[in-house]
Structures are given as C-alpha cells and as structure tokens.
Amino acid sequence: MDSSNDDALDIIITNVVATFRTRCHLNLRTIALEGTNVIYKPEVGKVLMKLRKPKITASIWSSGKIICTGATSEDDAKVGARRLARCLQKLGFKVRFSAFKVVNVLAVCSMPFAIHLVDFTKNNRPIASYEPELHPAATYRIKHLKATIQVFSTGSLTVTGPNVQNVATAVEQVYPLLFECQKPLREKRRGELRSQE
C-alpha cells in the first residue's frame, strides 16, 4: 500500500486561528461605538469584530491582544489581522502590529473507504483512544507533531495542528494505518462509487 493513493486526498482547511498584539491599550467602548459589525461583551470584557473580506471574526481585548478566527488559510489570516489592525489604527489608537502567530489549524479530509474503529484502536494502542460512550470518533494524537486526528467510522477525518504543514504530515502519517483497518465495501457499493467517479 502506498502512502499516497491514486487520486490525491483533498485536505480542506476549514479554520485558522491566529493571535497578535497591538502593543497599546485599547478602549473597548470606543471601538464598540464607532465600529460597524461589532459586538460588545462587557461582562467578559471583549469586543467581537467581524470582517467581510477575508471572513474573519476577531476577539479584541483591552490589553491589546487580539485573536482572529475563521480564516481559511494562513495568508488569509495574516491579511485579515493586518486589516483589523489598520481599522483600529483609523479609530485613533496607536496600533503596532506585532507577534503575529498562527496558533491552530483545523482541516477535514475524507477517505474513500470506511474504517473499522475498534481494530484501528487495538493496533495503535496508547496513541489512539476510542470511547463510544463519549464521542463517536477515535482520537489519534501524534505527540511530536502536536497534532490530533479524529477518525470517524465513515472515513472522514478532522485534523488539528499548529500549522498547515503539520496537518499535512499528520494525514500522511495516519493514512497507512487507516488503510490497514479499512472496511471492505460491498460489491454493489464499490460499483456505485466507481460510476460516480
């Protein structure tokens, strides 16, 4: 079995989370009153600002720390973060864009076969864990990559990791293990799939 199969697996990045700092104190009330698309949450102490162009939601704290979520790629996240900083600058704060870091990347991927989770867990004992009472997916944690993969019995995967490269590597790593424990499809199904492709 090869580590990459005939038709390439599509790894679709669905969410990128990044943080950065503005190095200056922000007055949340000003932002809340003078910005469009803002939600002010005084009880928590933050402002949610949503941008349209790269579709991003940012949580802004008064200390100047900002978390951006919802981007679909690392570059997008950076552009969105800079946009946001520019917006804050226009509101009158002395914003400096610093310490931009992508913290988390979430991607989904779909295998063309179903997976037998019990076997998969048995083969990869301490690294994989499966608790049907708690969650329908088996969790596979790769320590050195700091990535977590959730494997569902239908063959879909969700991968989270600190950056896109790690996520891709994680999928590459886990593919052969999944291939071993795949559930052979019935003949009829296989025929259908082929006709669809």
């Binding site: 005084p42 864009f97 049907p132 009472e133 239908t154």
Partner: protein
C-alpha cells in the same frame, strides 16, 4: 539462630529453644541467652470460650497509628499528607464501589490505580471524586463488568463528559489500555432490569444474537452501546411476546426516544430485518452492510448530484425557452399594429405588460426606426420588468399567479416557475457584481510603508473598504444613544456603585472587596415542582411557623388549589382583590386542576430564578406597582395570575407579596385544611419578613 560460638567452650552447637526463649550450648551447657524475642502466635481465651490470636493488624500502607479508643479521628492525627490522601481515597473508593456492587478484588485494584495516580501527581487540580470515579471505571473496563460511565455519573451527579475526560487522561497517563466496550456485556444487566421473569435467559440470548448481527452490519461503530442494546432488547422482547414499550426500555437503558427509534429504523433497513423470527434464529446472512452514516452520506451526495444535473438541464431548457421567446417577440413586434401619436406614449407604458398580447385597437405606423426602437425598448423593459418581478417574488413569498399570467401563455406552464428561479440567479449575479466593479476602480494606493519593526505593513489593504467599517459622526451619535439606552441599567448600577464606594471612602469604611465569582444557583434536582419546592424550603428555612406537612400534601392533591395566605399589609387592597376574585373563582376550581401543571412548570422556573443571585432589586420595586394593576384587570384564574406576577419579579420583594395572593375567602369555600396551607409563593416572598400568618 545465629551461628555463634559458646564463650566457655567454643562449641558451635547452640540449641535455641523458642518456647522458653533461651539459647544453650549443648557441649558445655552454659546458657548464652535468656528471654529471646519470640515470634510465635499466642492465643488467648475470650468470653464464651472463644480463642483469639493476640496482636493487631498493621496495615501495609505505611505508618498508621492504632486507632485510639474514643477519638474516632483517624485522619488528622500526626500523619503526613500523602498518607492522608491515600487513606481518604481508599475510603471513598470503598464507599463508591459498594454502591456499584463491586467485589473486593476490584476495589483493591482500583486503590492500586489510585496510588499510581497520586504518585504521578495527577490528582492536582482535579476533584477527588472525579479521580476516584475514573479509577473505578478503569477497573470496570479492565475487568469487563457491565458498569457504564453513566452509572457513575448518576451516582455522583456529575456531567458524564467531565468524568470521561478525567478517565481518558488517567488511562493515557497510566498507559492502561482498556479494552473496547462490547454491547453484549450490557445485555444481561438490562434484561434483568426489564423484568422478564423466567424467560430472561431466552430473551437475553435473542438480544445477543441481534446485537451480534448489528455489529456485523456496522451499526455499532461510533454509537453508544447502550442504544444498541436498547433496540435489541426491545425487538427481542417483542419476539418473545413481551409487551415492553419504548418508554420502559429507555428508562432502563438511558438513551432518549429518538435514538432508539433511529436504531430501530437503521436495523429495519438491513436485509436481516426481512427474515422471520425462526429464520433469524437459524440462519445468518452472509452479506454485511455499510455503516448507516456512510450510506446516509452517500445518499446525500447522490441527491446533490441529481440536483446539479437537474439545474443544468434546467439551464439548457431555459436557454432554449428564452431563444423561442425572443423569436416570438420579434414576430409579434413585426405583426403588431404600430401606434401613433399619443398612443405611442401609452404603448411604452403598457408594453411590458402586454408584450405577448396583441393590442390591435390602434393605428399602424410603418416606420422601421420606430419599430427598432420599440423592439429595443421592449427588450429593455422586459428585463426591467423581470427584475422587478424577481424582487416581488422574493419579497412576497412566491406569489406566482400574477407572474405566470404575465409571463405568458407561450411558455410551458410548469416551466414558468422554474424559469423564474434561474433567471433570478442570473440577474442576481449581475446586480451583485456591480459594486465589486466599482470597488476595484478605487484601486488601493499603497500607503506609506513604515519599515520599522512592529508597525503595520499596509500592503494590499484597501483603505476605502476599511473606511466603511468605521461609522461617521452622525452614525456614532445614533449608535451611542442606542447603546446607552440598551445598557441603561448596567450603567446606572455602575454609577451607583461608584457613588457608594466614594461615600464609603469618605467615611473611611471602604473595604477593598475582592470580586467573588458569583455562585451559580445550584440546580435543584427534583422530579416534580412539588419536590423542588420542598427542597428549596428545606434549604432556605423560611419560617418556623409553616406547617410543612400540609404543604407536602399539596402535591398529593395535584396542586389542586393554591393555599391561602392572609395578606400582611395593604389589607384593604387585598380584600378588595380577594372579593373580586371570590366572585370569579367560584367556578374556577375545576380549572385549577388543569392549571396545576402550568403552575408546576412555573414554580420550577420560579425556584430556579429565586436561587440565582440577581442585582436588580431596584427594578423590582418599580415593577411591583405594575402587577397590582395587572391583577385586577386580568381575567385568568387566580393561580395563573399569581404565578404570572411572580414570573415578572425575579426576586419577589416583601411588598410585592401583598399584591400576590390567593385569597383566604376562596379557600374557605373549599376544604377546611387548605386554609392552613401557605402559598409557596408567599413563602418565597416572605422569607425576609417575620409577619407571619395566623392559622
């Protein structure tokens, strides 16, 4: 028995007598030792001739002081912290384990796990009970006992996912590989609980077969095993002619109805479900199914594909239709009688509506240019008209009748509606791309780049767009007003708080109060509203003079009538109200029973709201006046009225209780003992004041 030599003769042959405790040299006979410490077991005769061994059991767990008589304090006397933790853990394990009916071996294993956990410092930052529960569940899994995590969470009243998290963490840290749960383990346990009498074993066997079949059909991956068991048991029970309803099964198995039904439908879709009972017991089908979520996913993709094809075909058809339409229009234009003069002006107006309808009532004109103009005009107008129609459609929930008429007879009737949609999409795209074009004309002129570290690199950022994100002054004003109005109470509070602090500072009594995390109101777990009331009353200890027993009896009556509570102040208002209510309430008793359920639900809400801390006492005061007026005007029954009021006041103020009331007179009409009852609402309202009612 050390090989010593005798002092006198040097002989090595020493005889040690354990009983006498002496060591004697055999050659010369000199006594070397007397009173050697013996390690014999001694027996003592107790009362009644019972012999018992002398001595005390010393625990292997470390230096444990012998329990002193009369102290009872085993824990805190001069022991180190680790030993205390272990001992307390052991005790808790014993307690919890006995509730689960685990045998001693399991409990010992659990304690060993616990010792490992403590030595790895994993108890830090975690509640002891969570850790204990996780240890016990680990044992259950490794031993294969039919205990679910749900059982543990039931006993501890903790969210099952929290326990699960702790369990997973411990399993990972201790490198314990718990084998996966097999739903077959739970079948006997649930079968016992479902009470099948002598045929329990048969039913269990059938259910086991069903579960195994389900496993082969891939219904069990990713699902809670209890759900599968429930479905299997239900079917097995029916197969053996036991009438077990879905409700019975779900109360035992602890899943919800929807889940059970879903499992049953999934099983129905497998080919095994087509077999008869006998066939099933004998034959085992060869083929295996795909997991149901997989098939659902496939189904979805297939539907989507079909839809895509449909839309594609529609587009083609639509293209054809518009071709035809254009041709027909041109033909019509040619054959249409041309209008002249004033009628021409009219024609331009009515043209869009009657493009397909021949208007033959006017003179013709032969000018080619006019015709061309008209054609262009009609084209343009039809497009506009279509736009308009789209908007109308979108706005008016598909009022398609008028449109169909206007769209005209030459289009296939069924095709009309569908045509509208694709056209809308086309036109829609047109309208939305316009602003984007405009946008791009304002190309971003790159701002001056400051290349210092940390300062914003504005490459590629469109300033114009960002301008949009910032409101101008007028908008700011409006928004400020809105926000101020919306958060008026919060701001008011802040102001008052500041004032208070200032005053205290002046007086010198200002204490720096640390912000306490507000204690979330404990959820009162109760099955009925009555129980909830009881529990709350016990907690709050509202009044000594209330006859709680009678209050409890309320429930048995189904909360039939709300108990009386003579008003404290404002008696005249009260009496007026009560008299009015008395008149109305005469026919109301039978309704009360019906309203009891409503009341029950509202009581529940009331209780949960009263236990949470609220800041808005001032608001309550202002609102108190409203309920008073409201009650006099509503025509609902007294109970619902009373309840409605309390639902307005999150924390009923003592004075509000006066407005509340179910009346004394009303109760007098009913059974006598009800007179002595106190309305729970009143109780809650009155817990501040001591003006008590007279029974």
């Amino acid at each position: 028995m050390s090989s010593r030599t005798c002092h006198t003769c040097g002989g090595t042959d020493i005889d040690v007598d354990q009983a006498r405790g002496s060591a004697v040299c055999t050659s010369c006979g000199s006594v070397l030792e007397d009173n050697i410490i013996v390690s014999e077991v001694q027996f003592v005769e107790g009362s009644g001739g019972v012999s018992s061994a002398v001595g005390q059991f010393v625990s292997a767990d470390g230096p444990v002081k012998a329990p002193q008589l009369g102290s009872g304090f085993h824990t805190s006397v001069g022991k180190e912290s680790r030993a205390q933790t272990l001992q307390s853990g052991k005790r808790q394990i014993q307690q919890l384990g006995s509730q689960l009916q685990l045998n001693q071996h399991c409990l010992d294993t659990a304690f060993n796990f616990f010792k490992m956990v403590v030595s790895k410092h994993l108890t830090r930052g975690r509640k002891m009970e969570h850790v204990i529960a996780a240890c016990l569940y680990l044992v259950c899994r490794t031993e294969g006992t039919p205990h679910m995590l749900l059982d543990l969470s039931d006993l501890l009243q903790v969210n099952v996912y929290i326990l699960g998290k702790t369990f997973l963490l411990l399993a990972r840290e201790l490198c314990i590989n718990a084998p996966a749960i097999d739903p077959c383990l739970y079948i006997p346990r649930f079968a016992h609980m479902l009470d099948f009498g002598t045929k329990t074993h048969d039913v269990s066997m059938t259910a086991l077969r069903l579960v195994q079949r389900m496993k082969r059909d891939w219904m069990h991956t990713g699902r809670r095993p209890s759900g599968l068991c429930g479905a299997a048991l239900l079917v097995a029970a029916r197969m053996h002619t036991f009438r077990r309803t879905v409700k019975d099964v779900i109360s035992v198995v602890k899943v919800c109805q929807t889940t059970l039904r879903k499992r049953l439908t999934e099983f129905e879709e497998t080919p095994t479900s087509q077999l008869t009972i006998d066939e099933f017991m004998r034959v085992d089908l060869e083929q295996e199914c795909d997991p149901p979520s997989f098939t659902a996913g496939q189904h979805k993709t297939k539907m989507q594909q079909l839809e895509n094809e449909l839309t594609r075909k529609l587009d083609e058809v639509e293209g054809e239709i518009s071709c035809y339409k254009n041709e027909i229009e041109t033909e019509l234009e040619k054959s249409r009688p041309k209008l002249r003069g004033i009628y021409a002006a009219y024609a331009r107006e009515i043209d869009p509506e009657d493009t397909e309808v021949l208007s033959s009532a006017s003179d013709l004109e032969e000018a080619e240019s006019e015709e061309a103009e008209l054609q262009a005009a009609t084209q343009h107008l039809t497009q506009d008209f279509l736009c308009q129609v789209m908007e109308e459609e979108v706005g008016q929930d598909r009022k398609t009748d008028g449109v169909r008429q206007k769209m005209g007879p030459e289009e296939e009737g069924g095709g009309a509606l569908r045509q509208v949609a694709p056209l809308a999409t086309i036109l829609g795209k047109l309208t939305t791309t316009a602003p984007f074009d405009l946008q791009q004309t304002f190309d971003p002129s790159p701002e001056d780049d400051e290349t210092e570290h940390g300062v914003l690199d504005l490459d590629g950022i469109d300033d114009q767009e960002i301008e949009k994100y910032i409101l101008n002054d007028r908008e700011v004003q409006v928004k400020t007003e809105l926000w101020m109005k919306q958060n008026a109470e919060y701001l008011q509070e802040q102001r008052e708080k500041d004032e208070r602090i200032r005053k205290e500072k002046e007086q010198g009594t200002y204490k720096e109060k640390k912000k306490k995390k507000s204690k979330k109101g404990e959820q009162v777990e109760a099955l009925t509203a009555g129980e909830a009331i009881e529990k709350m009353l016990e907690k709050k200890k509202i009044s000594r003079k209330i006859n709680y027993d009678v209050l409890r009896d309320l429930n048995s009556r189904g909360g039939g009538s709300s108990p009386a509570h003579p008003p404290n102040t404002n008696t005249d208002v009260q009496q007026k109200l009560s008299r009015r209510r008395q008149r109305r309430s005469s026919g109301v008793n039978y309704e009360l029973a019906a309203n009891a359920s409503i009341m029950g639900k509202r009581f529940h809400r009331l209780i949960s709201t009263t236990t949470t801390t609220t800041k808005k006492k001032k608001r309550v005061e202002s609102q108190v006046q409203n309920p008073v007026t409201m009650t006099t005007t509503t025509t609902t029954t007294t109970t619902t009225k009373a309840v409605a009021e309390t639902s307005h006041d999150p924390e009923p103020h003592p004075t509000s209780s006066t407005a509340v009331p179910p009346t004394v007179e009303e109760e007098e009409e009913e059974e006598v003992e009800e007179e002595e009852c106190v309305s729970a609402l009143q109780l809650v309202g009155d817990y501040g004041c001591e003006e008590e009612e007279v029974f």
